[in-house]
């Protein structure tokens, strides 16, 4: 169920977590209960305790639940009277200091309602009139906020649902604003604890690697808002490559699906579905690195992380010995967008939200076949249920006109070039079809054998940018593929000390170097 209200002039929509409520037991109840199950059973069935694998135990939506629980909140499937109290302001439940509804915002962050509102009335309104207005509107003053005139924290004077009261207040013209007071987990800026994170200048460049501080994608700021998970679950990134170590310790938790198209150097490829955890998937260091750039896991005590460390990864191997036909590559692209096209047991709607591919010759020319053209158009227009799947493709590493590569300069492809740790273009393909740059020179990530390394290539800029695309979708799950592209384009930093044209484009830099923090705002 959605709850939409206005905040600072913009509509905010929260999704309620159906069937669950947040309860804050009183201190007395805690000490009397003696154990968590007994405490929980006062408000709901003990089996429904979210921390012990009940209905909401492991899959309750909403990030930061653990922080709320550490602060004394329980999330339970409530008894009827507890459920009723949660939806009604000023209703009380014995042994509970608070019983509230639970919501998830569009970034997947948990928010807990309260029975307090913040309201601001016309600043010129006399004090007596303010008091009368609050009383007439069924509000009781809890506290006046002194740093701005006629602003108060208020509660409803009588029992009633919060959304109903808020809607009434927002319709009244004498309120400058009326906003719910929601409990949120406000943590310090996320600084990954991965042991090699400091090597990953692509995320945060402090200049210690010899480059320029700030020549990075602003990942840490972005991760405060999105890490590749949206309100409906993780965003899915498909990485198409010759092979990858899907059981790399820094990747395996993220790889949820995939498959391989095996042609043995010939024309006809057989599709083999990948079952997560199974052995035998084609392995290649390049694809392992690409997968890591997009979605290596965060805070798992290993290596570094990818730009979308909470996204799901779909590993797609094709042309595993680097020889084959574009028809096989076309099948891989179509499979990424809609697995049912190849795999009869795949679920409709299980396709990727973002596609990254870093395959192609490094010379100037790559002619596009009609069949690959059709597959790209299919994914870009019919992927994601018709919203379109953004396709990130590595531009050629050679300093050539990008149009000579008909694949990466396809109108439905986002061509990514590489920048270095000084935010300078590094000699990849150039021209009007170059979308933007992302770090791709001596960047650090996963490679085969469970190892890590530094590596250079547009190959690695593309999945890094694809991960940022996933961050954008985490915040804006209903964006079309084209909107993702436009957001990324519009939020690039104009680096390189060059003059961009009236459209904000430069042949060597595209629309600039991608900036994840601005993209997810």
């Amino acid at each position: 169920m959605k709850w939409t209200f206005r905040m600072r002039g913009k509509e905010v929509t929260l999704t309620s977590v159906l069937g669950a409520v947040a309860v804050r037991p009183s201190e007395g109840a805690r000490s009397r209960a003696g154990s968590r199950p007994r405490l929980v059973s006062q408000f709901g069935g003990s089996a429904s305790d979210t921390s012990s694998g009940g209905r909401f135990g492991l899959d309750m939506p909403g990030r930061n639940r653990g922080l709320f629980e550490r602060a004394g909140w329980l999330f339970i499937e409530p008894k009827p009277k507890v459920a009723l109290a949660a939806t009604t302001m000023r209703a009380t439940v014995e042994d509970a200091d608070a019983v509230e509804q639970v919501f998830v915002d569009r970034s997947g962050n948990m928010q807990v309602a309260t029975d307090v509102l913040t309201v601001k009335l016309d600043p010129d309104m006399p004090e007596a009139e303010v008091k009368q207005r609050l009383k007439d509107d069924g509000l009781r003053n809890v506290r006046q906020i002194r740093f701005t005139p006629n602003t108060f924290e208020v509660r409803a004077a009588t029992r009633r649902p919060l959304p109903e009261l808020l809607h009434e207040l927002q319709e009244k013209r004498h309120y400058v604003f009326a906003e719910p007071m929601l409990l949120q987990a406000i943590t310090g800026r996320l600084k990954p604890k991965d042991p090699d994170f400091a090597q990953q200048w692509q995320h945060t460049n402090d200049g210690s690697s010899g480059g320029s501080a700030g020549a990075d994608i602003r990942a840490e700021q972005a991760w405060d808002l999105s890490r590749g998970r949206g309100p409906n679950g993780p965003i899915r990134i498909a990485v198409i490559d010759n092979g990858m170590q899907v059981r790399h310790p820094d990747l395996k938790a993220g790889v949820v699906a995939g498959g391989s198209f095996r042609s043995g150097g010939g024309a006809t490829a057989n599709f083999v579905r990948y079952t997560p955890g199974a052995a035998g998937f084609p392995d290649a260091p390049h694809g392992t690195f690409c997968l890591g750039m997009a979605g290596a896991r965060m805070n798992n005590k290993r290596g570094g992380c990818g730009s979308a460390p909470e996204a799901d990864l779909i590993a797609i191997a094709c042309l595993d010995d680097q020889i084959g036909t574009q028809a096989t590559l076309a099948r891989a692209v179509a499979y990424a967008a809609d697995p049912t096209r190849e795999d009869g047991s795949a679920t409709a709607g299980s396709g990727a939200d973002v596609i990254a591919c870093s395959l192609g010759p490094n010379g100037a020319d790559w002619d596009l076949t009609s069949v690959l053209d059709l597959a790209i158009r299919f994914a870009a227009n019919q992927g994601r249920g018709g919203l379109g799947t953004p396709i990130f493709w590595a531009a050629s590493n050679g300093h050539f006109e990008i149009e000579r590569d008909e694949v990466s300069s396809h109108p439905d492809v986002i061509a990514v070039g590489r920048s270095d740790h000084n935010d300078m273009a590094d000699g990849s393909a150039y021209g009007p079809k170059l979308e933007f740059l992302a770090p791709g020179v001596e960047v650090y990530n996963t490679t085969s054998g469970g190892k890590y390394r530094f590596w250079t290539g547009t190959s690695f800029a593309a999945p890094l940018a694809a991960g940022v695309g996933a961050l954008v979708l985490g915040r804006n799950p209903n964006f079309t593929g084209q909107q993702v592209r436009e957001r990324l384009r519009a939020t690039c930093d104009k680096v390189g000390g060059v003059t961009y044209n009236a459209d904000g484009h430069h042949d060597e830099y595209g629309y600039g170097r991608i900036n994840a923090a601005r993209a997810v705002q």
Binding site: G266, T325, F460
Partner: protein
């Protein structure tokens, strides 16, 4: 050597067929006196060595065509050797990608393609009327010839020979 061409996305694609060479799977190759580098250097000096290495790594061997051999002496494992623009090697196959003008079933597609010596291998469901087809009647010519015939027949939106090429990683 002979110049070949076909139409792809409304543009003429030029190929140089190295008629004096064939590509074979390693297990089918004959003993030869020349190294791979020498063979290619003699016939196509403009082809970068990395291209050769990539095909070798995938189990392909380039050999001089045996003038004594009958046309089917190398059976199914033989591939024509083409050079595309930019010095890129492409191996010929007997497969084409075709998109038929009408939305036909596989059976209907087979019936329409049979007079051109073709048989459907598989459909590709991400676009209507899209099939991979094999040239099964050598009297019609090779896949490049048949692509041209099909395009002129008015039966197809496009018909393109499937070529085996290097599609490697874009890293240094």
């Amino acid at each position: 050597m002979r110049e070949r061409s076909f139409v792809r996305r409304n543009k003429k694609v030029q190929l140089r067929e190295l008629t004096e060479l064939v590509a074979l799977r390693k297990e089918d190759a004959r003993e030869g006196s020349l190294s791979q580098d020498d063979i290619l250097a003699q016939t196509a000096p403009d082809v970068p060595k990395e291209q050769l290495r990539a095909f070798e790594n995938a189990g392909w061997v380039f050999q001089e065509r045996d003038p004594e051999a009958s046309p089917d002496a190398y059976a199914q494992s033989q591939a024509q050797v083409f050079v595309k623009s930019g010095g890129r090697i492409a191996l010929g196959t007997n497969v084409l990608n075709v998109q038929l003008k009408e939305g036909l079933s596989e059976d209907e597609a087979n019936a329409a393609l049979q007079p051109h010596g073709c048989r459907v291998i598989e459909g590709m469901s991400f676009a209507p009327g899209l099939f991979r087809v094999a040239v099964v009647d050598p009297s019609q010519g090779d896949a490049v010839d048949v692509a041209d015939q099909l395009l002129n027949s008015g039966l197809v939106q496009f018909a393109e020979p499937e070529l085996i090429e290097v599609v490697g990683p874009r890293s240094s």
